[in-house]
Symmetry: C2
Subunit: 245 residues, 2 copies
């Protein structure tokens, strides 16, 4: 195992931060690392909004399911899929109608995620901790207002960055053979693999929650999928100019 893979394997989400701010050098390294990620046809279809203002973080924390750590972390990055800058790129030559296809939505969303993952790894290598925050999609319109997002830009997720003030244990993942398929997709491993995973996750949850929380993957996923949350996203995306045609 080399130091890079070691780093990747150490990841766990941090939900409690020291108040210390990042140095400018660290922030610069993190952002430059983000930019080095692959991007579809060099479109670089993402923007990052970095929020440090306490009032703004407080408001964003409230909008994202009242998650306290958003207020507490020194830097809250909001990762946005961005087609507006492409329109600006074309402007010196001609006015281009940005396509409102599912395809361009995938491109911009994936570009954003790849860059963010590089940033998270860079941050962790500098002793910082991160957590991805899908909760900003609870109130995407209000979040967009707080950070002034124009049309053709949408907030995909947030990311807290700061020095960890906790040492959480790693949650186990699905057995590899359930996720990786050789040559063709197969569900043959699913019944046994999910049963095994339910067992290990149940053990983990009982340990982590002090022996009081009895759950497993199947139970968590039923609860999660039945909640039908964020059904407003389609309409919000359309308002932002992402029609998903």
């Amino acid at each position: 195992m080399n130091p890079v893979i070691e780093q990747l394997k150490l990841h766990r989400s941090i939900r409690k931060y020291k108040p210390d701010a990042l140095s400018d050098e660290h922030l610069q390294s993190i952002l430059e690392s983000a930019q080095k990620a692959s991007t579809s046809s060099n479109m670089q279809a993402y923007s990052i909004v970095g929020v440090t203002d306490p009032e703004a973080k407080k408001r964003l924390a409230h909008l994202a399911a009242d998650q306290q750590f958003i207020e507490e972390c020194p830097l809250f990055l909001i990762w946005c899929a961005d087609l507006l800058r492409l329109q600006h790129a074309c402007a010196p030559i001609e006015e281009v109608d940005i396509p409102s296809t599912s395809e361009i939505f995938i491109i911009a969303t994936v570009d954003t995620a790849l860059a963010a993952q590089n940033a998270s790894i860079a941050a962790e290598s500098l002793g910082l901790g991160v957590v991805y925050v899908g909760g900003i999609r609870n109130n995407p319109k209000e979040v967009s207002e707080v950070i002034g997002l124009p049309k053709l830009v949408y907030p995909v997720f947030g990311m807290c960055v700061g020095y960890p003030d906790q040492e959480p244990t790693q949650r186990p993942r699905l057995p590899l053979e359930v996720v990786y398929h050789k040559e063709t997709y197969s569900t043959n491993t699913y019944t046994q693999g999910i049963e095994d995973y339910n067992r290990s996750l149940s053990e983990f949850m009982l340990t982590r929650a002090g022996g009081t929380r009895d759950s497993n993957w199947s139970k968590e996923m039923v609860r999660r999928l039945n909640s039908r949350h964020r059904t407003h996203m389609r309409e919000f995306l359309a308002e932002q100019g992402f029609e998903l045609n």
Copy 2:
């Protein structure tokens, strides 16, 4: 700069591979690294199909814009957003209707991208090279047939993995101040930043293409956005059970 950030900053896409296969140990490390990436509510909504069969790679290369390196690389990974496994996860408890929302589409697509980016970094740290292949979305239905994808699974992108047989130079990225916004989104930097970037990319292209290819970012983006490609994606996604409601 630490070894992790150094690694991230070295990335360039590889489009020419030696025939040597990966060792099982390396593949295992790469896949385990992928699994360590963050995942929304632990849904792990992705699957990876690893293709090594020469005939299958040849067919996939043809379907993905006849890109020769897909045939030549020893391992072609197809990264799929996967909601089917979640249905299997719920099965022991109850039959759950997988929501067909834009929200769950974002979750699964982002989960896939984060895992893939971890894999690409792990691979590069082992001396391997990679390239992301959006071209599999040129013929997503046929690609899905080759690797046997069922409903509720869609191929987001491919990734060639293998030992590099070229030393490409890094393409410059946009100036950081065009991508990173402090506190709120702003287009103030765009005109100057894009002008600067056009200049540096034009220089780069003239150098890399032996002084014959005169282009820049604005020109490339106009060409790219006017091509309106992959307009079939919406229909394909719906057929796979991703309705984007």
